[in-house]
C-alpha cells in the first residue's frame, strides 16, 4: 500500500483539510489507496458488493476521524487499520468468519504441510489460471481470520512483515508466526488441488 512516487506531503494535505476546511483535498489524499483498500476488503470479505461498501465506509470513517490521526504511523497504515476493522466487524455481523484465537490453537503446535514430491510448476494456460484463481480465493477465504489478515497484508498487499504487524497491532514475532502458519495451511490445502489442475505436465524445478 504505497502512495505514488510523486512527492506527496500527506501530513501537509491532512493539516490543510483539517485547518482550512479544504475537504476537496481528501479526494487527492486517498486516491493512491483506492485499489489497495478495495482489494484488501475483497480478500477479507470474498464478495464484491460487500467489499465496495466496506471500502467506501473505511474511507468515510477516515474522513470523519481525520483529526484523530496523529501522524505517529503512516497515513496508509492508519487507513489499513480502519479497513481491517471495518471488514472484521462485517464478518462478525455475518458470523461467517472463522475467528479462532491463538489460544484455541496449539501454541507451538506445527502446521504440517502437504507432502507432495511433484508439484513444482506455475500454470500458464488461461483456463488453468482461472481455475487456480478460484482455488486460491476459496482457500484464502477459508483461513481463520487471524491468519487471513496477515496473509492478505503481507502476501497480497505486499506490505513488509513489520508494516503488517503495525497495521494489525501485534508484535513482529507474532506476525511472522501467523504468516508462517497461513502459508503452510494454504500449501497443505492447495498443493494437492493444484496438482489435480496440472496433472500431467513436465516439471520445471526452481533451482
Amino acid at each position: 500500500m504505497t502512495a505514488t512516487s510523486e512527492n506527496r506531503n500527506e501530513a501537509q494535505m491532512i493539516a490543510s483539510i483539517l485547518a482550512g476546511g479544504n475537504t476537496h483535498e481528501f479526494h487527492d489524499l486517498i486516491q493512491p489507496y483506492e485499489r489497495s483498500v478495495y482489494s484488501m476488503a475483497l480478500s477479507m470479505l470474498q464478495n464484491e458488493a460487500d467489499a465496495e461498501d466496506a471500502a467506501q465506509e473505511a474511507f468515510l470513517k477516515a474522513f470523519r476521524n481525520l483529526e484523530k490521526f496523529r501522524g505517529e504511523a503512516k497515513f496508509s497504515t492508519w487507513l489499513i487499520s480502519i479497513t481491517l476493522n471495518e471488514a472484521r466487524s462485517r464478518l462478525r455481523r455475518k458470523k461467517t468468519a472463522k475467528t479462532e484465537s491463538l489460544d484455541e490453537l496449539q501454541e507451538g503446535g506445527h502446521v504440517s504441510p502437504a507432502l507432495l514430491r511433484d508439484w513444482r510448476e506455475i500454470p500458464s494456460e488461461a483456463l488453468e489460471r482461472q481455475e487456480v484463481r478460484l482455488l486460491l480465493q476459496d482457500a484464502i477465504g477459508d483461513l481463520p481470520l487471524i491468519y487471513r489478515e496477515v496473509f492478505v497484508l503481507r502476501d497480497m498487499e505486499d506490505l513488509s512483515v513489520n508494516q503488517s504487524a503495525e497495521a494489525l497491532g501485534i508484535s513482529v514475532a507474532a506476525a511472522k508466526v501467523r504468516l508462517h502458519r497461513a502459508r503452510l495451511m494454504l500449501q497443505k490445502r492447495l498443493a494437492p488441488q493444484l496438482k489435480q489442475v496440472m496433472p500431467k505436465r513436465r516439471w520445471f524445478p526452481w533451482f
Binding site: E52, Q56, F63, R64, N65, N85, I122, V132, V161
Partner: protein, 92 residues
C-alpha cells in the same frame, strides 16, 4: 546441525522471506539439497505466493471511484467529525 524435516518446515516461511539467521539458513539449505520432500514443500509454498502475487493485478469495479467520491462529497456537505468509533488502532 542436522535438521529433521519437521524442523525444516518451521523455517519455510522465513526461508522464503530471507529472514533466517545465517547458521539456520545453512542448515536448512543442507537439508534441502538431499531432501526431495522438503524441497518440494518449499517450491509449492513459493509457487502459491507467486500465484497470489499474480492476482494483485485486477481492475477496480467499473465506476468504483466515481461512487466513492460521490459518497464522500455527500458526507463533506454535512457536518464533519462525528467522532464515531473506528476501532482501536491495531485492534486485533
Amino acid at each position: 546441525m542436522v535438521l529433521e524435516c519437521k524442523h525444516v518446515w518451521e523455517h519455510i516461511s522465513g526461508y522464503l522471506d530471507g529472514t533466517l539467521d545465517a547458521a539456520v539458513l545453512e542448515d536448512v539449505q543442507k537439508h534441502l539439497e538431499h531432501c526431495e520432500i522438503c524441497s518440494a514443500i518449499l517450491d509449492s509454498t513459493r509457487n502459491i505466493l507467486i500465484l497470489t502475487a499474480d492476482e494483485r493485478v485486477f481492475e477496480l469495479p467499473l465506476g468504483f471511484s466515481e461512487r466513492l467520491h460521490a459518497r464522500l462529497e455527500a458526507e463533506m456537505r454535512g457536518p464533519r467529525g462525528t467522532g464515531e468509533e473506528i476501532g482501536e488502532e491495531g485492534d486485533s
